[in-house]
């Protein structure tokens, strides 16, 4: 995903630098050279997908938006592949891969939940949980592909200007985002009020008092602990990859990449397995208590939870560490060679140079990495679904986990009867989470810009 975005910006930079034409004129040129394209195939595919999506609309909210969108993206990719094949009599490997991914993803969404019910992993993995990341993955890739096509930048040098109508997938991806976000905002905003944000949700007699305070605090605590845990290993891995190239650095790079590629659900499942292994092994030893967490009930008795904040933070730290490592590496690589050599030529040791020059230089990147990691942790909290905790016993390092993500899941599909009361607040929780994540991402961008200009100053203009 990040790769395709990277190559996308590459393509933009290259074309606008190379021939001096503006981006828009380049796109206009490509559009002017358009030929008649058979739209029948994609339209038929889109119609089928839309019908399926409309059917899904009757069953659930989020799915209803994601499934047709995914189908449309698939249809566009299919057309792209078919057209390229017709024009060049060879398969565009990238587009074909995307197509296969789209079809596979759609199939998985239809079939997988049935199996997973059978697995009985502490509840139910609903396909919504899977469909949203898949949709994001696919639409980003599709959009990147389309932009490349529009720029006329093709890795194999083929004339991609022959299908400039690929702007369609971009529009569709945006629409898909729009539907998702719009749905959340429109439905969630009604339930949003200060009272909800400052109340701790709790059972009261037979009823339930709705409140997100615990979940919001839990989200922040978890983000903070995740960053604390991921910071040193992340920066360390980044330093190693940038400063000590070699087989070991390659291995670390590979490991962090793999960590990034592994689905968070796999990691979540592994974490879940670990908790259960520990609780069946030794319920009372320290490690087990650290992992599982505990709480005191009204009589002062300490009872075990199902997974502590600390443990959840370690799992999330593992997930977000690659983000910090990658950005640290990028920051260090951006140090000009002259500056590096200047430090070395003054008889500074590697450690001194790292502390005084390299890390301060990379600081904006590291900071951005931290904020992005926080945003990512925030978005990946769904992993904690596996830890399956209700977390109504307060927020602390060893308390059970309660986060916004978890409450969204729990309210929607949780086994607990009383959560039905919260049904109307499901999308409100999603909205709060969305704002939090977007806020962090924007903050990351602002920080990077501000710090980069302040610290590196005029050196680059020299």
């Amino acid at each position: 995903m990040t790769d395709s975005v990277g190559s996308m910006t590459d393509a933009v930079g290259r074309t606008s630098d190379a021939d001096g034409h503006g981006l828009m004129s380049r796109i206009a040129d490509n559009l002017a050279g358009r030929e008649r394209v058979t739209l029948g195939l994609p339209l038929a595919a889109a119609a089928i997908c839309a019908a399926v999506g409309l059917g899904a609309l009757f069953f659930n909210g989020v799915d209803a938006a994601s499934l047709p969108a995914m189908g449309l993206l698939g249809a566009c990719q299919l057309t792209a592949v078919a057209t390229t094949y017709r024009r060049t009599a060879s398969l565009d490997r990238r587009a074909t891969l995307l197509l296969v991914l789209c079809i596979a993803a759609t199939l998985v969404l239809f079939v997988a939940p049935e199996w997973m019910y059978g697995w009985n992993i502490n509840g139910i993995i609903h396909h919504s949980v899977l469909s949203v990341p898949l949709l994001l993955l696919m639409s980003t890739a599709t959009a990147a592909h389309s932009v490349r096509a529009l720029m006329g930048a093709s890795p194999s040098g083929r004339d991609l200007s022959l299908y400039p109508w690929l702007i369609l997938p971009i529009a569709l991806a945006l629409i898909a985002y729009g539907i998702l976000v719009g749905d959340i905002v429109a439905s969630g905003i009604g339930g949003l009020n200060l009272n909800l944000l400052t109340t701790v949700g709790a059972s009261a007699g037979n009823g339930y008092v709705p409140g997100f305070l615990n979940n919001i605090l839990g989200t922040f605590l978890l983000m903070f602990m995740t960053l604390v845990i991921a910071f040193l290993p992340g920066v360390g891995a980044g330093v190693f990859m940038a400063e000590y190239p070699g087989r070991l650095a390659g291995l670390i790079d590979f490991c962090t990449q793999m960590l990034r590629a592994v689905s968070m659900f796999v990691i979540g499942a592994a974490a879940f397995g670990l908790v259960h292994l520990l609780s069946s092994w030794k319920a009372d030893d320290l490690l087990s208590q650290l992992v599982r967490g505990s709480y005191s009930d009204s009589s002062g008795q300490t009872l075990p939870e199902h997974g502590s904040f600390l443990f959840a933070a370690v799992i999330l730290g593992l997930l977000v560490m690659p983000v910090i490592a990658k950005l640290t590496e990028e920051g260090l690589r951006s140090v000009p060679r002259e500056i590096r050599e200047g430090s070395i030529a003054l008889g500074a040791t590697e450690g001194h140079g790292l502390r005084r020059i390299l890390l301060p230089w990379a600081a904006p990147n590291i900071l951005t990495g931290l904020v992005l990691a926080a945003a990512e942790a925030n978005g990946s909290l769904a992993v904690l679904v596996f830890l399956g905790v209700i977390g109504e016993h307060g927020v602390g390092p060893l308390s059970g986990v309660t986060t916004l993500d978890y409450s969204i899941f729990e309210i929607s599909w949780g086994p607990m009867q009383y959560t039905r009361v919260m049904e109307q607040y499901r999308l409100t929780a999603a909205l709060v989470l969305l704002l939090l994540t977007m806020g962090l991402t924007v903050l990351a961008m602002l920080l990077q810009r501000r710090f980069a200009t302040r610290y590196r100053g005029s050196l680059t203009s020299n």
Binding site: G347, A348, S458, N462
Partner: protein, 267 residues
């Protein structure tokens, strides 16, 4: 040839340096006289920068680079020294001004702090180094300002001050005026004159008149070999080689010099 009556602080013998399969230096002998300014001149690609960088083992940074032959500092083989310690004795000023993104004062003290030298007398070190680099008057009122605010010529002189602050035995300069305007170049030359006697300077330059103005000795290199080495005035008045005469006169070599192996002058 006259006997050179000065002690050599550094000397290379049979220095061969290659990047991958490309041999850049093909057996070079160069003596570096103590307290003198030695200029290395020659057309682009003759290996003079590589020679300079090998003197404080910056060539180590390129894993592709292979160094053979002997380089000595005060009679000790540089190859067996700790490169960090070697670089503390042999400093370097680069072609492009490369001040660190910190205050002028911190720039000057960077090497001092990096080498863990005494924490006392920092103010004196800053002042005397900046004076030697002929920039004290321009920056004395804004030592706390970022060095990046200075002009290119000022930055370069701060870099010289930074190098001098750690009291190196030898200062290497790689076309230090390469990116400067004429006025800054003049101030830079003034600072090099200031260093003469107190420091040993090795300077790589393209500018033949500049080499004549500032250097005591000139080493003329061509295609990876040392063609001629001698006292500056002697080399200008009576060069031994046709190629040297050509280069010093107009910068163009019309007759390629005879390839000679690593040759030291008869004592």
């Amino acid at each position: 040839m006259e006997t050179i009556e000065v002690a050599n602080v550094m000397e290379t013998e049979g220095l061969r340096i290659s990047y991958g399969k490309r041999e850049v230096l093909k057996g070079v002998w160069v003596p570096i006289a103590k307290g003198k300014v030695t200029a290395i001149v020659g057309p682009s690609g003759c290996g003079k920068t590589t020679l300079l960088r090998s003197l404080n083992r910056l060539t180590d940074l390129n894993s592709n680079c292979k160094v053979q032959g002997r380089i000595t500092l005060d009679g000790d083989n540089c190859v067996s020294m700790d490169p960090v310690l070697l670089r503390r004795r042999v400093g370097m000023v680069f072609q492009k001004p490369n001040p660190f993104p910190m205050s002028i004062r911190d720039n000057v003290l960077y090497g001092v702090q990096a080498q863990g030298m005494s924490k006392e007398g920092h103010d004196d070190i800053v002042e005397s180094s900046l004076r030697k680099a002929v920039i004290w008057d321009e920056v004395k009122d804004r030592l706390g300002h970022s060095a990046l605010e200075l002009s290119g010529g000022q930055q370069q002189r701060v870099c010289i001050a930074r190098t001098l602050a750690v009291n190196p035995e030898v200062v290497l300069m790689d076309e230090p005026a390469g990116s400067l305007d004429p006025r800054s170049t003049l101030l830079l030359e003034e600072s090099i004159m200031e260093m003469r006697g107190q420091y040993t300077v090795v300077i790589v330059t393209h500018d033949v008149p500049e080499a004549r103005r500032i250097s005591d000795f000139i080493a003329f290199m061509y295609e990876g070999r040392l063609v001629e080495f001698g006292e500056t005035e002697q080399l200008f008045s009576a060069p031994r080689e046709e190629a040297t005469r050509d280069y010093l006169a107009g910068g163009l070599v019309t007759v390629a010099p005879v390839a000679r192996e690593d040759e030291a002058p008869a004592a």
